[in-house]
């Protein structure tokens, strides 16, 4: 599973057969994984897949029903106090003190971790310069993107070795999202291990390795490239004038294995490789679709996710 492309000398985070139930809902079942030092590990999956639950177990906020987890060599149950000094956690919901100013929030989190802003200023400098003009503004009055940056600063101020970011870009505009990922790249360069969850498949490509999670289980853990390479069938993007009728007709075709709408084109796979794009063209013309555009494409993570998570399909 592990790949030697990265400097993986040390396991930073490790989960071993983790189970967790909320009442009757099985939020996590049999989660096992390893995160190496200095990598960006993405946990990718839809809402309700169990991402936050996993994060709360790893950040010592929640106990697992079964299984073990180690963070930085410490057990999350027995050594939770040691872990808390070494990790930075940014919950999905903005949870800083809205009635304190930017400066006060930062000061506050530095102090509770027994450090000062000056001591670790180099870590947050790039982010903080953008916040500086608003430093005496109350956190509650910041814009969404600024709040996000402040939260990241607060999570970084004590120089954590591992950063847990739970859906940091949900509800953030595309420009801020890109900026945010650039910042993560810089942090990685400083040697910080980052575990990040996101429902956005496009962000998966920016991780070193990703775990696809659905219904509380990891369906695959690998580098984004390997996951894409592992896509079993050739994938075609199909578009025509009437996209909705096209979708219905594609799904009615018995040779078509899967068909999902993806923005401007439908992504289609076939049951066997003997069925080609020419055959599809003929089929579509027989259904009255003209002006078809069929091209073979490289799968995205989203295709892989859809493929892996579609029920009754083990490829």
């Amino acid at each position: 599973m592990a790949e030697s492309k990265y400097q993986m000398n040390r396991i930073m985070v490790q989960g071993h057969n983790i189970f967790r139930k909320y009442g009757k809902v099985q939020a996590l079942s049999d989660i096992s994984f390893e995160v190496m030092e200095g990598e960006i590990f993405g946990v990718i999956g839809p809402d309700g897949a169990g991402k936050t639950t996993l994060f709360r177990i790893l950040t010592t906020l929640l106990l697992a029903d079964q299984g073990q987890a180690m963070v930085n060599g410490f057990d999350v149950v027995e050594d939770y106090t040691s872990i808390r000094k070494k990790i930075g956690y940014m919950p999905g919901k903005f949870s800083l003190y809205q009635d304190l100013t930017v400066q006060e929030n930062l000061d506050f989190f530095a102090t509770v971790f027994n450090t000062t802003i000056e001591e670790n200023y180099h870590l947050i400098r790039d982010i903080y310069v953008q916040l500086e003009p608003f430093k005496s503004r109350r956190a509650g009055a910041l814009s969404g993107g600024m709040k996000q940056k402040l939260a990241l600063c607060c999570a970084l101020i004590h120089k954590p070795e591992i950063l847990f970011l739970d859906e940091p870009t949900t509800g953030v505009d595309p420009v801020s999202r890109r900026e945010f990922w650039e910042m993560l790249g810089k942090l990685k360069a400083q040697g910080i291990t980052i575990i990040v969850s996101t429902p956005y498949m496009d962000e998966a490509e920016k991780c070193d390795r990703i775990a696809l999670i659905q219904g509380g289980s990891f369906i695959q853990i690998d580098t984004p490239e390997n996951i894409k390479d592992g896509y079993a069938n050739p994938l075609y993007a199909v578009s025509s004038e009437s996209m909705y009728a096209l979708l219905k007709d594609l799904r009615s075709c018995e040779r078509v294995k899967s068909c999902y709408p993806f923005g401007d084109a439908h992504h289609v796979t076939f049951f066997d490789d003997s069925f080609t794009s020419e055959d599809l063209e003929k089929f579509l013309q027989s259904k009255g679709h003209n002006d078809n555009n069929i091209s073979k494409i490289r799968p995205t993570i989203e295709d892989c996710f859809m493929n892996l998570s579609s029920p009754g399909d083990a490829s």
């Binding site: 950040t59 010592t60 906020l61 106090t81 808390r84 000094k85 990790i87 956690y89 919950p91 919901k93 903005f94 949870s95 800083l96 003190y97 809205q98 009635d99 304190l100 006060e104 506050f108 989190f109 102090t111 509770v112 971790f113 027994n114």
Partner: protein
């Protein structure tokens, strides 16, 4: 660390546009207005008079009743059935009917009949009204007998006169009795309610979770929430002493430090109670409602308004579990009777018990829920 956290709590509190002012207004409001509004003394009883006698005695009686200050003559009716209409239309609370020949009977036979009819829709007003009126009439009766004894040579009827002397509150002033008890209510709200709501608020906002991943120890975090309100509680208590001194001329007959000591134990107990609630509530709405539920029960069962001993037996048993009851007793005893530490051993025992019980429960329920 604790000091820094407390500083931060105070900074947030003072920055709140609303809360600091409310904390100051609250004792003023409670101590200045509540004793006046929730006064059980009944005044302004509306009376309809049916005077069928029109004699000098009947006029004297009427004069005496009105000069007592409790009654207001709303109407003079010519007969009883007409007077009854004033009660039906809620213009009068009470009818006094003086029968024809009232004066004559009094002089000739030294007795006369009067009829008092009371509107008992408002029970308190009715009961107090008729008892005040009977007392005034009795008084009037006595003075007439003495007067007649001088004119006519009649034998004085030997009679008893009961003189009540009220210990500890000689004039039965309502505020004397209420103000110390209201201080307990203030402490309950400020030291029990506010920290619990603050904690639930942080839970709701998610900042509690953020704090939980820091190395700050849980007891430190909770103490940092409680201590500011303890301090405020003591300030408000001291303020209340001042207010009651200035406005009601009330000073504790006993030692004020006895009160402070008991207040400290009580504050421990009630903030422990608040913590228990904060463990079970996930939203402010839940916490508020639980608080109201218990505090209203506590206040009515505590003997704040009505004496515990006049409650039905089940309620008396229930009131054993009301911490407010003991603190109210302590304050009333120290303020009015000047009780010292030795007289308050039972209360001390119960309050310490509550403090231990609630705080243990808070610790256990915290572990269980999280």
């Amino acid at each position: 660390m604790l000091k820094y956290l407390i500083e931060k709590e105070f900074r947030q509190l003072l920055r709140n546009p609303f809360l600091p002012r409310l904390i100051l207004m609250f004792p003023l409001m409670v101590l200045l207005f509540l004793p006046l509004a929730a006064n059980f003394e009944v005044k302004n009883i509306n009376m309809t008079l049916v005077d069928n006698d029109h004699s000098s005695y009947s006029r004297q009686l009427r004069q005496k009743i009105l000069s007592s200050g409790y009654f207001r003559l709303t109407e003079i009716s010519s007969n009883y059935s007409q007077a009854l209409k004033t009660i039906e239309s809620d213009k009068a609370d009470l009818i006094l009917e003086i029968p024809p020949g009232f004066e004559e009977d009094l002089i000739r036979e030294q007795t006369a009949q009067l009829m008092i009819s009371v509107n008992a829709v408002n029970g308190t007003k009715g009961a107090f009204g008729s008892s005040y009126l009977s007392r005034i009439i009795n008084d009037f009766n006595m003075s007439i007998i003495t007067e007649l004894a001088l004119i006519k040579d009649i034998r004085m009827v030997p009679s008893f006169q009961i003189i009540s002397q009220y210990r500890f509150n000689p004039y039965l002033r309502y505020p004397v009795f209420m103000v110390p008890a209201l201080m307990v209510m203030l402490l309950t709200m400020i030291c029990g309610f506010l920290p619990a709501l603050n904690i639930v608020g942080e839970k709701e906002k998610g900042t509690m979770e953020q704090m939980n991943v820091t190395p700050v120890k849980k007891p430190t975090l909770i103490l940092s929430k409680l201590i500011p309100y303890w301090i405020i509680g003591f300030i408000v208590l001291t303020l209340s002493f001042g207010i009651s001194r200035i406005f009601y001329d009330l000073k504790p007959a006993g030692n004020i430090f006895t009160i402070y000591l008991f207040a400290f134990i009580f504050i421990l107990a009630i903030s422990g109670f608040g913590l228990v609630i904060s463990n079970y509530a996930n939203t402010l709405q839940q916490a508020m409602f639980m608080m109201f539920f218990f505090v209203i029960t506590f206040i009515f069962m505590s003997g704040l308004y009505t004496p515990v001993r006049s409650m039905p037996e089940w309620a008396q048993i229930l009131s054993i579990f009301v911490p407010l009851k003991y603190m109210i007793e302590v304050l009333r005893m120290v303020y009015l009777k000047g009780s010292g530490f030795a007289d308050l051993m039972v209360e001390l025992f119960f309050l310490v018990g509550f403090a231990v019980f609630f705080n243990l429960w808070a610790v256990v329920s915290y572990k269980k829920v999280n």
